[in-house]
C-alpha cells in the first residue's frame, strides 16, 4: 500500500492553458467574482451589469504569429442593464516576417519546470539550491572558503583586501552589520585599516561564559602566513574603571579572564587594537593586540566595544600621508623641526627633519573649548586641515594682580602650543629625509600700538600660500609659503579690583596663489632634409 500511494503522489505540473477563451489574467479570487474582470467565469450577468469598464479588454496569443485567436471582452453600456460582450476573433498580423507555422511546440511557451521527485531531488538541489545559479552548474562552486582548509602556497602572499586567514577561519573584526549590534563574522582584510564600534548585549552574571568578552576569543587562533603560523601576542593591556579612567598595566603577559565579582564583571574586553606587521612581499611576520579591559556594572544590558586593526610594514614608522603627492583637502598639514645641532644651511642636506612632537606630526592651532577661558584650556589643539580656513579663540580675563611677562609667555604658549614647528611639508607625501621638500615657517611680529614695556600677544594668524602644481588635468596642491603673524597689544595696568576680558584669536587662512595654467603643446616636428654630400657627384 505504501508504494502505490507514493506512485499516486507523483504529480506532474498542471498543463499550461493555451486557449485564449479560457485564459483570464484578472481572475484572482477563487469561486468569487473579481470586480471589472470581464473574463472571470465566476461572474454572473448581474455582476457584469455592475461593472464600469473591462480591466482586460483582449486576450491574444503570441503576436508574432501570422494569425492568432483573440478573445475580446467589452461592456455594452448602452444596453439596460449593461452586459458583457465576448467575441472570439482571428487577429491577423500583416508583417512579412510573421510566423506562418512553427514546428517546434515549445518555441512560443515557457518551459515547464521539472517537478522534484525522490530520484532527481539531489541533482536539482545541487543545480538550483544555492543563492544563485547559472546555466552551467558544474563550473559554479558556492562553497565558502572557511570550510575548505587553504593550501600553504595560497596563504604565503596576501594581497590587498584578501581576508587574513587563521587556523580555523578568518581573523575576526566584530563590526556592526545593518544595525549597531556586533557581528563576529566580519573578516579583516589585509592592508585595510579599519576601526569599528559596535554594541553587544551582555548578561553580567554569566559574563565569564560570554566568549566575546574574554581576551582568549581574540588571540587564541594563530594567523597563517607562509610556512609557519604567527601567534597573536598581547602588546599591552589597559584597564578602564567604571568612571572611564584608563590605566596601562605594566605586565601584559598575564591573561586576564572575565569574572563576576562584587556585583561587577571585571576584565571584560571593551576594545581590541590589532597591529599586524608585514614584509614588503606581503607576508605577515608579526601580530600583536592591545586590549582595553573594563568593568561592567550589574545593571548594564549592553556594552559598546571598539575594534581597530592597522597594518605596518616592517622597519618603517607609520606616518599617515596627507596626499600623494599633492595635499588632499581635509587632511592635516604636516610639520616638523630642524634637528638640533645643525644650524648651517649646508648641513641641511645631510640631516633629516625630526617630526614635531604632535603625535601625528601636524601643524596645530588652538582649539576653542566650552569654557572659553584661555588659562583653563591647557593643551587642547586641533590639527590644521589643508584647505579649511579656521578661526578659534578664547577669552582672557585680566586682573590687576597679573604680571606682564609671565602672562605674555603663557599666552604665547596658548596660541602656539607646546612646540610650534619650524617647517611645513610642501607636499602631502614629503619624507623627513628630503629637507628641500619642506617650507620654513616665517614668523612675523606686529605691534598694534606704540612700543611700550608690556606687550602681550593677542592673535596668531597663519597664512598658508599654496599653488597648483603639475599637469593641467590633475593639478596637485603644493604649499609654497607659510607665514605666522603674532599681533601684540599693550597691556594697560588696571586699577586694583577691576578686571578686563580681552579676546584671543588664532586663525588659519589658505590662499591659492597658483598662476594660470599655460597649456603647452609639443613642438612641431621639424623636417630634417639634407642631401648626402656626394649627391651631385661627379659634377661637384
Amino acid at each position: 500500500p505504501a508504494d502505490t500511494r507514493d506512485a499516486a503522489r507523483v504529480r506532474s505540473a498542471p498543463a499550461p492553458i493555451t486557449d485564449v477563451a479560457r485564459l483570464c489574467v484578472c481572475d484572482l479570487l477563487v469561486a468569487q467574482c473579481d470586480v471589472n474582470c470581464c473574463c472571470d467565469p465566476d461572474c454572473s450577468a448581474e455582476d457584469f451589469s455592475l461593472f464600469t469598464t473591462c480591466s482586460v479588454p483582449v486576450v491574444i496569443g503570441d503576436s508574432q504569429l501570422c494569425s492568432q485567436k483573440a478573445a475580446v471582452y467589452s461592456l455594452d453600456v448602452e444596453a439596460n442593464p449593461p452586459e458583457r460582450i465576448f467575441k472570439l476573433i482571428d487577429q491577423v498580423n500583416p508583417s512579412i516576417f510573421c510566423i506562418h507555422a512553427a514546428n517546434y511546440e515549445q518555441a512560443l511557451y515557457l518551459k515547464s519546470p521539472e517537478i522534484p521527485t525522490p530520484e532527481n531531488f539531489d541533482q536539482l538541489l545541487e543545480k538550483f539550491g544555492g543563492a544563485s545559479f547559472r546555466a552551467e552548474p558544474d563550473s559554479w562552486n558556492l562553497d565558502t572558503d572557511a570550510q575548505n582548509p587553504p593550501e600553504a602556497n595560497e596563504t604565503s602572499r596576501y594581497e590587498y583586501g584578501v581576508p587574513v586567514q587563521t587556523e580555523d577561519a578568518f581573523l575576526r573584526l566584530p563590526s556592526p552589520v545593518v544595525s549597531s549590534w556586533c557581528s563576529d563574522a566580519n573578516p579583516a582584510g589585509f592592508l585595510v585599516n579599519q576601526a569599528t564600534k559596535c554594541i553587544r548585549s551582555v548578561s553580567v552574571e554569566n559574563c565569564d561564559s560570554i566568549q566575546a568578552l574574554s581576551m582568549l576569543f581574540y588571540i587564541n587562533s594563530s594567523i597563517l602566513a607562509s610556512v609557519f603560523q604567527v601567534n597573536i601576542t598581547v602588546q599591552s593591556i589597559a584597564v578602564q574603571s567604571l568612571n572611564g579612567m584608563r590605566t596601562l598595566l605594566s605586565s601584559s603577559d598575564v591573561l586576564r579572564l572575565p569574572m563576576f565579582l562584587d556585583e561587577l564583571c571585571i576584565n571584560a574586553v571593551l576594545g581590541v587594537n590589532y597591529h599586524i606587521t608585514y614584509t614588503d612581499t606581503g607576508e605577515i611576520i608579526e601580530a600583536a593586540a592591545a586590549f582595553v579591559l573594563g568593568a561592567i556594572s550589574k545593571e548594564t544590558l549592553s556594552i559598546e566595544q571598539s575594534f581597530e586593526i592597522s597594518f605596518t610594514q616592517e622597519n618603517t614608522q607609520p606616518v599617515p600621508l596627507s596626499g600623494n603627492p599633492g595635499y588632499v583637502v581635509g587632511l592635516p598639514v604636516r610639520a616638523g623641526f630642524q634637528p638640533q645641532g645643525y644650524p648651517f644651511p649646508a648641513a641641511f642636506l645631510f640631516a633629516a627633519l625630526a617630526l614635531s612632537s604632535n603625535k601625528h606630526s601636524q601643524l596645530t592651532i588652538l582649539q576653542s573649548t566650552s569654557t572659553q577661558d584661555c588659562l583653563a584650556a591647557q593643551g587642547a589643539r586641533a590639527p590644521v586641515l589643508f584647505g579649511y580656513n579656521m578661526i578659534s579663540g578664547c577669552k582672557l580675563r585680566i586682573t590687576a594682580a597679573m604680571k606682564c611677562q609671565p602672562l605674555a609667555q603663557t599666552l604665547l604658549d596658548v596660541l602656539k602650543g607646546q612646540s610650534f614647528p619650524e617647517y611645513v611639508a610642501s607636499f602631502g607625501n614629503s619624507q623627513a629625509q628630503d629637507v628641500l621638500d619642506w617650507v620654513p615657517i616665517t614668523q612675523l611680529h606686529i605691534s598694534q600700538q606704540v612700543k611700550s614695556p608690556c606687550q602681550i600677544p593677542v592673535s596668531l594668524g597663519i597664512e598658508v600660500k599654496w599653488t597648483k602644481y603639475g599637469s593641467l588635468v590633475n593639478p596637485q596642491a603644493r604649499i609654497v609659503n607659510v607665514t605666522a603673524t603674532i599681533t601684540t597689544t599693550t597691556l594697560k595696568q588696571l586699577p586694583s579690583g577691576r578686571e578686563k576680558i580681552i579676546p584671543i584669536t588664532s586663525s588659519v587662512v589658505f590662499t591659492d596663489i597658483s598662476s594660470p595654467a599655460e597649456p603647452s603643446y609639443k613642438a612641431w616636428p621639424t623636417i630634417n632634409i639634407k642631401l648626402p654630400f656626394d649627391f651631385f657627384y661627379p659634377f661637384v
Binding site: 512579412i96 516576417f97 510566423i99 506562418h100 507555422a101 514546428n103 517546434y104 515549445q106 518555441a107
Partner: protein, 135 residues
C-alpha cells in the same frame, strides 16, 4: 524552322531566370534563418537540419542547372533526364523548407512557393523537350 531546332527556348529562358532567382533565394533564406535564430528560441539541434537542407539544395542546384542547359543546347536527352531527377530532389527539399522548417515565416512561404512553381514549370518543359529529342 522548328524542325531544324529542337532546343526549347522557353526552357532556356526559364533555367536562366531560375539561376538568378536561386541566388537571391539562397541569400534571403540564409538571412532569415539567422534572423530567426536571434529573435526566436532556436536550439542547435533544430538549427542544424534546416541549414543542412538549405546548403544541400544549393549544392544540388548547380549541377541541375548545368545539366539542364547542356542537355537543352546539345539536344541530348540523357543530361536533361538527369537534371529532371535532380529537380525532384530539389522539389523535396523545397517542400521541407516550406512545410517542415522549425519556423516558417510568411516570407519563407512566398519564396518557396515561387521556387516550387518555377521547378514545376521547368519540369514540364523538360519533359516536353525530352519527348521532342527522343522522337
Amino acid at each position: 524552322n522548328n524542325s531544324s531546332q529542337l532546343s526549347s527556348l522557353p526552357l532556356h529562358i526559364l533555367l536562366y531566370v531560375n539561376g538568378i532567382y536561386y541566388i537571391f533565394y539562397f541569400l534571403a533564406t540564409l538571412a532569415m534563418i539567422i534572423y530567426k535564430s536571434q529573435v526566436f528560441s532556436y536550439p542547435d539541434d533544430l538549427l542544424a537540419p534546416d541549414l543542412a537542407v538549405l546548403f544541400l539544395m544549393a549544392i544540388l542546384e548547380v549541377p541541375r542547372l548545368y545539366l539542364g542547359f547542356k542537355g537543352n543546347l546539345t539536344e541530348a536527352e540523357a543530361p536533361l533526364g538527369l537534371s529532371l531527377g535532380l529537380t525532384v530532389g530539389s522539389v523535396v527539399l523545397c517542400v521541407y523548407l516550406l512545410q517542415w522548417q522549425t519556423y516558417v515565416l510568411w516570407a519563407d512561404v512566398l519564396l518557396n512557393a515561387v521556387l516550387l512553381s518555377a521547378y514545376g514549370l521547368e519540369s514540364g518543359l523538360k519533359v516536353t523537350a525530352i519527348a521532342a529529342f527522343v522522337s
